[in-house]
Subunit: 351 residues, 4 copies
């Protein structure tokens, strides 16, 4: 069981690990870090070296058990930052419940496994193991984050050299396939669908989505990094999580419903984690969008900018976590949303 | 006096003039058109041929007195569409006031005049003339739209060949200078500042902005197209306008204040016209943004995507008019906002 | 039989039809135009409105029998221009052979036919008809140019709405499929392979390419525009054509072989028409390239810039026709090349 | 005196330091490295994190005296690679002359000094010191490479906060100003102009350029890294250098003149270092180019792709060093070119 606290710290660049200093100010050390979930300022696509740079800067400073998930792309008003989930066993008076988190990695995936059943299974297994480790029911899980590999030109060529065909010959497209497999692996692990349905969805023959799944792909890793965030009665702290789903990129109502509920509970929003994508139908609420026909700017960049513009305005600052490419993470054209919030302490103040 | 109605029609491409068919369905003809204000799907920057294509398709179909303003860039959820301001003298029962509009053009501006006092003066003069033509006080004006030229490589080279230095040697930057001069011309015409203050602001030595100004630049014209929208007691129709200012790109409060007021008055939002820009300070509310350091995507594209994501969600559809580059159109980092809304008729229904 | 001359004229913008004035200076009128083959300055990808703008500007000025092929993308040193193939029956003294050309169109292709056998067949048929019309053997054909449609989001959605799956759900990728089918149609018509081999190649199960094929795709048309250029003994003019193949983007030797042969024959290069693509293997001569992993700039843009840089330097000016995406137009990673040159007249001068 | 050898090694990514292994194979260790000059695969502009990633990977593995210069942008056929200048005192039989190199750094430059006289002076001083260290005359210097800082949004804001105005408020433009100042500093140090002329050139009031200067800017450093490459009679090795100047991006003749001279001397080309830029006049040899009006792709990317396409074809592989933005590095629109070549040994073989 890992009761956790959450620190959200702006960064001055992808290699800025200054948040570790902020940690110390809160009485923690780097060895307490469970996961670093960052938004870095690259293009969020295949050749996004801001993610690699962040990984290179952070990983030597973290315990081997910690995972990093860097999601590229701070389009529009999104602001580069890191979210640190930090082990914090302190039992806060007045609370009989609290936020917990566990992190782990799947085995290394071979390029030929990317975007296929093997990836679904590997993610399912790791998520399942982490949920078990937390000792919570899947109903208490509000957020599962996966960072997964993509196919580079090198990997595609290597596969073809041995007569294997990758899930896609296009590097940018491989990101979508990898996110899809990871998200379906999450859905299976959380009991939102069975493996058969997940594989049918992967083949485009069924619609399955999880409002708690958040997957992003990158060239900087070979396995999948997984973080599970839940509430547990084994912890006692003021942090809570809630999840919902934007039905489309204009779904203000879904988000305000979550924020209103936080307010109703007397809470204060600490962070919003959301996925966004260009509606694959080419239109939103019947009106054509141009994200999928823009050959200059990839659709994931557009989607992050637009949904980021909305969520940042609702949160009141740009340090929200909006990640692009929402295959099976919320319904098509929409996206999963998790809000982490803080309840007031028994004296009415925060923790 | 030109009482007007407003039609907002989605387009299937920059050269889609099908909205003229919709006009007919409302009992109007092309000869009634005062202005076509469209969002087209190019990059909104120097080499945006979607604007030129739209102009080539529309202009032969419109009366010589009409102006067109095509603003490129439908990033994110923004949806390509046209807004037709159409002369409609019908006096609606139960109304003693209504929306009016007038359109005109400045003289052709020489490339050396772009972004300089001569452009400020030309715009001031044309706006002044149109306000006079409408017979309204400047307090009743809620929206002044200008489409103005930019500097291409050819024009810059031609100027330099005769020993003149353009306001900028960078084509993309020249758009900002041109928008600035147009907006300051509007501010002078509306009495928001005097000419001296406007020229000081143009030189970067004073801060002047108008919350009613909206300027965009394009390579497809040599003069400035100008549209003035106001309320007048000489008209009698259910359309009204209101303007405000987003202080920054997250200024949800400013927009909801306008929308709430529309609702309070029993109105229904018909269109939102807004300007957006990357905060020139490099941060929004103290958090760094990366729009000005992104060498792959120009900052105007980012700004439109982000503010468009917010306004489209608030309006409930993507056919909002968000234009990028808000020099002196609202304060730095913010932008002007005009809402056109419709009051219910005496029987409670719309017009 | 249409003996032709060739005029290459720089353009000041996609809608610049000033070349028609140059025509007049050569004693021709617009009614003599067989084809306008232009390079326009858009991105050459899905949302390239420079092509549409050029088509809108040119087509009303040309006879119904003429075709236009606008290829977007003048990256690097490539310079926007048009190549006019103009009917010119004049028999030049001292020549018993000359350049001829014929143009035509396929039937309109349904979106579901794009990139599939139906498109191969339609192109084969039209090319065959044009070769027959010219009365030349296929050995005398040195250049077949096709402009073909692509799939937009609208078309993809419409197909799916009726339960059909397009050849690709990605708009940019659909360009490649359309070019592939057109090129294989050319190969069949020129007897370079049979239909079975062409369809196998389309399915990725065989390698077939034509060094005389040049195909480009665009959103601005629904049928395929086809131009066949050949030499014929029925004409008598100083223009000649020669074709070759760049084996890869560095294949300077292949081009200098052609240019040296032109020189050996006493000729003068008038134009080079070439195709270029990013080597699909991810490397050129064993060294990795990054065109296929660059999510900011599409690989066709990279390929045009690089091969354009080479060919423009060899020609001595930037008004060369380099088009991106060379599926089956020369071997993978390479591209077809056609040189049009002019022999000296009997007195040693040009025609 | 540092006699050097040169190793050019392809990289699999910006953080690939595998070339150090190749070093070992040649009997050298990392401590012998004088400079690592690499092409990395980012956009070569402001937000190019591939350069930072390379610097982070390489710098801890090199002696403190070594400098790194990572130039972003491998557009088109350019292939990511590193060039290692390695100390190698071995006196090769049959040679009485050889390649030498020295590396150093200027002091840290304050943001307000960027692109101004202070930067010119700092570079002049360091280049002068390195030339003196090598004990060569400036006539024997064939290549001076500088990597210099740029202005980020943060630095611009910080300057303005204290009432200082930076050389440019645009981050991308600041790269050009920084390269200009560095190049003029080189020109002064090499005696190609005096300080007064250099400052006039910096102000745009004189034309000065050096055909031996190569400068690139990046966000990953605060001082300037400088490398001077020369021939010296104090060394005895088969490597030689030669420099020239492309007058424009089509100047094939200038490059073949160099390559022909290498061949005439019996040498073998080892590497080409070149600068490239979009002709600031907007045209090349009288024909318009569109690099400066393309708001989707910056002109430095276009220029690298085009000139890289030419030079890679001439060299026969894509691992050439072409860097974009050639202010005062060769005349406007052209660029400096240095060829490093290897003479055969006394027995006719290479060293």
């Amino acid at each position: 069981m890992s009761a956790v606290t959450l620190l959200t710290v702006p960064t001055s660049g992808p290699d800025d690990t200054g948040a570790l200093g902020a940690l110390a100010g809160h009485g923690h050390t780097a060895s307490d870090v469970v996961a670093v979930i960052g938004k870095t300022e690259g293009n969020g696509c295949v050749n996004d070296f801001s993610r690699t740079l962040a990984a290179v800067a952070w990983e030597p400073r973290l315990p081997g058990s910690a995972v990093t998930v860097f999601s590229g792309g701070t389009e529009g008003v999104l602001s580069p930052h890191v979210n640190l989930f930090v082990r914090d066993g302190k039992r806060h008076e007045g609370f009989d419940r609290g936020l917990v988190a566990a992190a782990g990695r799947t085995r290394v995936l071979a390029p030929g496994e990317l975007g296929r059943a093997a990836q679904v299974d590997a993610v399912t297994e790791t998520v399942g193991k982490l949920v078990a480790e937390l000792g919570v029911s899947t109903a208490d899980v509000h957020f599962v984050l996966v960072k997964c590999p993509l196919l580079t030109s090198d990997k595609i060529a290597a596969l073809r050299a041995v007569g294997e065909e990758p899930v896609s010959g296009d590097t940018y497209e491989s990101m979508g396939h990898s996110r899809a497999a990871s998200s379906l692996g999450i859905a299976v692990a959380l009991g939102e669908c069975d493996r058969t349905a997940a594989l049918a969805a992967l083949a485009g023959e069924a619609e399955v989505s999880s409002a708690r799944a958040s997957a992003s792909a990158g060239a900087e890793l070979e396995d999948c990094h997984v973080l599970v965030v839940a509430e547990s009665t084994a912890a006692a702290n003021p942090l809570r999580a809630m999840h919902g789903e934007m039905k489309d990129a204009l779904d203000l109502a879904a988000v305000t419903a979550l924020l209103d509920e936080v307010e109703r509970r007397g809470g204060r929003v600490r962070q919003i984690f959301a996925k966004a994508e260009a509606d694959p139908s080419g239109s939103v609420r019947g009106l054509r969008h141009t994200m999928l026909t823009d050959s200059d700017v990839n659709s994931t960049r557009h989607a992050r900018a637009a949904v980021g513009g909305l969520l940042a305005a609702l949160k009141g600052d740009g340090a929200v976590y909006v990640s692009g490419g929402a295959e099976h993470q919320g319904r098509p054209g929409g996206g999963s949303v998790t809000v982490i919030y803080e309840l007031p302490g028994p004296d009415g103040g925060g923790a």
